[in-house]
Symmetry: C2
Subunit: 237 residues, 2 copies
């Protein structure tokens, strides 16, 4: 396997770093290749605009998707974006490692998606969901939370973790074609003890060892929807 980890945490001693280290060790020991984009370490710029491109299609009105399609034709993404696109096409497993901040991706990682997942090269022209450009590859979220697991159950105060992660799992990963593996969630690690953290690291190691056999989350396929309206043909299914 070729595994690409996008790592978004600003403290190298944090548990997120321990998880990424376990991933690197576990996977390379098994003979897999691992690439890591450490967004804070790289000083990655998450602001998406004309800086994404070295070309300008329309100087009078900045339409990002139009510039993305043009940059796809002209091979004119900025160097920082092209490097990330190359890693995406190199990998067959993508992992986002991050702390859940405000029930979503940290800004630096959300901006990475905004800039790197460009129309033309990564999606567009009907190439989305199970017809997506990155189909056949797997993606997985690995995250830490501040609150305990009971807060994130279907009857928990914060809402069901699966609903909270749906816009990322379905809206980002599945949208571009990935098979989405169930997330690995380490709850309330800052409040736990050393034993709990060791247990999470071991659980994560087991998840990594079983990446190839883990069943992805099931989503309906494009063919289940009417073309044009994109409505489910048979909502009872």
């Amino acid at each position: 396997m070729k595994v690409f980890i996008v790592h978004a945490h600003h403290e190298r001693q944090n548990f997120n770093a321990a998880l990424t280290k376990v991933a690197y060790q576990t996977l390379t020991e098994q003979g897999h290749s691992v690439e890591i984009s450490d967004l804070y370490g790289m000083n990655f710029d998450p602001v998406s605009d004309r800086r994404n491109f070295i070309t300008v299609k329309n100087p009078d009105y900045f339409k990002q998707q139009e510039e993305e399609q043009y940059a796809t034709q002209m091979h004119s993404f900025s160097a920082d974006i092209q490097a990330e696109i190359n890693k995406l096409f190199w990998c067959n497993v993508l992992i986002f490692q991050f702390p859940l901040w405000w029930f979503g991706l940290p800004g630096i990682l959300k901006g990475w998606v905004d800039r790197v997942f460009a129309m033309g090269i990564i999606y567009g022209g009907g190439r989305f969901y199970d017809n997506g450009v990155l189909q056949g590859r797997k993606a997985m979220l690995s995250l830490t939370t501040g609150g305990p697991e009971t807060m994130y159950s279907p009857t928990g105060l914060n809402g069901d973790i699966n609903n909270i992660l749906f816009p990322i799992n379905h809206g980002i990963f599945r949208f571009v074609g990935f098979d989405v593996l169930p997330p690995f969630v380490a709850y309330a690690v800052a409040r736990g003890d050393e034993e709990q953290r060791r247990a999470y690291l071991e659980q994560y190691r087991q998840r990594l060892l079983s990446l190839e056999t883990t069943l992805p989350i099931q989503y309906p396929s494009l063919s289940d929807y009417e073309s044009g309206t994109f409505q489910l043909k048979n909502p009872a299914i």
Copy 2:
């Protein structure tokens, strides 16, 4: 009313700018005050780390929430963050104006939340949800989408827009105490015609004129949950 609009779009001729302009005109004509943070125009930095503070509590290990609590005591947020915190406390209505990118906030706006919504001053110590610091104030999302409305219905390909926005409405706005007004969504404006866009601007104007009487989204209250486990006491409700 004192309305604070956080505006996140990189093209001033875009429909998002037209919506913010309508908001400014409509509200000021009614005698309300309006503050706008134009994040791209301000060159707002969305990367959250030690740059959020002018003090350092712990130089050896960066724990963001600990530094946030310390900065709350010491009044030592960086100038850019303190300015945004001041606008938050000034307003009684907060509006996020943005294009839905990858089913979430643009990175520049997500990073604004990550940096500005600091523990200590904005939440913490049991002050969250209906006991939140910003309780009694209203917040509303105003967004544009690429896809048509049918893609965002409960049986649409992208999933229900209310589920997609739940992590923002509930996880960001409600978490810090806001009453959350139903979102204003302008669908597929880039694909529509001038008449459709005029209709959306007029609909938005009507939403702004009725801000004070619009009922917020109903969420369970803290008292509906067991303390400790944060589980709903009566899931049948």
